[in-house]
């Protein structure tokens, strides 16, 4: 191969070799074709573990029952039984360790998520008792009159 015509090819091959070398170092060891094949499963396997390790924040109503069984039973007797505790009380996270107290959303905005009247025949919304937030005691917090754990009762004074 004493032909000068191949000189640029050597340069190219050298560059390709460098790229492959870099690739060896740069790409994580667990990167490859996983369960779902090359089209859908080409990835770094460790990424799945990363996602599994993501912190859980909402613990579900059953978690709350362990300590607050009184409140749990009270709620379960009421028309609000379907509402999970954490929808109003916020995510439990590692309560009672962290945070020791939860911030409760007592705002009017929270209640009207369901109770602002929307006249939509065919949707579940039509079956929920509703008010017009513009005319029904505007500015007043709902919890002043209504007891959220059992809306049939008046607010505890």
């Amino acid at each position: 191969m004493r032909n000068h015509v191949w000189r640029p090819l050597y340069v190219v091959l050298f560059i390709v070799a460098v790229v492959l070398l870099v690739r060896k170092v740069y790409v994580p060891k667990d990167f490859g074709i996983q369960d779902r094949g090359y089209m859908y499963g080409f990835h770094r396997l460790g990424s799945e573990a990363d996602w599994k390790a993501f912190p859980v924040k909402y613990r579900s109503t059953e978690y709350c029952r362990d300590c607050h069984s009184d409140k749990y039973n009270e709620l379960k007797q009421s028309p609000h039984a379907v509402i999970p505790c954490e929808d109003c009380h916020g995510p439990a996270m590692n309560h009672p360790d962290d945070p020791p107290t939860l911030t409760i959303d007592r705002s009017r905005k929270l209640c009207i998520r369901c109770h602002a009247r929307l006249p939509y025949p065919g949707s579940g919304r039509a079956n929920i008792p509703g008010i017009d937030p513009e005319t029904h005691n505007p500015g007043a917090e709902c919890v002043l009159c209504h007891y959220p754990h059992d809306p049939r009762r008046e607010a505890k004074k």
Partner: protein, 261 residues
């Protein structure tokens, strides 16, 4: 006798010719290709949305944003709820202000750019809410188009994004017909619904299923014939979104009508 120039030339040539086929082997590892054929899956996550039950409270969106650390005030969300109001003249009005994070508390339909449309209750023929989330397609077009293997499907059928590997080209966002993907405002990589992978793999429900008071959202294992979600899908008349794209969505809907986009 080999002079220096010849030596350099020959070693470069040798290195180059050796390196090329080696690289090819690495890309198509036959053992991993074989592994794909052993279809011993016992979990395939699926989702069921009952639009008849949804009241548009938006607790699911709120819970999702907090659980998955999507900035609360950013105008993007992994899940959202759409409102459809069909008037008696046959027109369909759709909106999802702030992805319905605060629920639907007014009759006014958001038209964008701060404009609203007032519809008289008498003109309404039907109105309903449709929760949306990633369909975790069996043929995810978003995964197919990722140039670097930063998004992928797990063995149990969930499509995830590797935040350490995504280059942020946005091709997956363009490739999704359902508009579920966006750029995370903090990490600046593609972001999407993970079916709360950290929760479902621990035996918990997703944050949105957990937050829904009305049971409009359910998650289950489609490989388990006794799972309530699987049973409903097998026995009831369910539908999927945008079937024409051939993506094979694994989020099933009860009460889907032609107006739903």
């Amino acid at each position: 006798m080999m002079n220096r120039r010849d030596f350099c030339k020959k070693s470069v040539l040798l290195f180059g010719t050796l390196a090329v086929p080696l690289a090819a082997f690495e890309l198509f590892d036959p053992t991993s290709l074989l592994a794909e054929k052993n279809d011993g899956k016992e979990v395939r996550w699926g989702f069921l949305v009952d639009t008849e039950k949804c009241v548009g409270c938006g607790f699911c969106v709120k819970a999702c944003k907090i659980e998955n650390e999507v900035p609360y005030n950013a105008d993007v969300s992994r899940t959202w709820v759409e409102r459809y109001v069909v008037t008696k003249d046959g027109k369909t009005h759709i909106d999802s202000p702030k992805a319905a994070r605060d629920g639907f508390t007014t009759e006014k339909i958001a038209l964008g750019e701060g404009k609203f449309l007032d519809i008289k209750p008498d003109d309404i023929a039907k109105g309903f809410f449709v929760p949306k989330l990633c369909n975790q397609c069996d043929n995810p077009p978003c995964v197919q188009v990722c140039p670097v293997g930063a998004t992928y499907q797990t063995k149990d059928g969930v499509v995830l994004v590797d935040r350490t590997w995504c280059i942020g080209c946005g091709y997956c966002i363009m490739g999704c017909p359902y508009g579920v993907r966006f750029f995370h405002p903090v990490y600046h990589v593609a972001e999407k619904c993970t079916f709360c992978y950290h929760r479902i793999t621990k035996g918990m429900k997703t944050a949105c299923v957990n937050a829904c008071p009305f049971g409009a959202r359910q998650i289950g294992n489609l490989k388990d014939p006794d799972d309530p979600v699987t049973r409903t899908i097998m026995t009831e008349r369910v539908n999927i979104l945008k079937e024409e794209y051939g993506t094979k969505p694994q989020v099933f809907y009860l009460g889907l009508t032609k107006e739903v986009r």
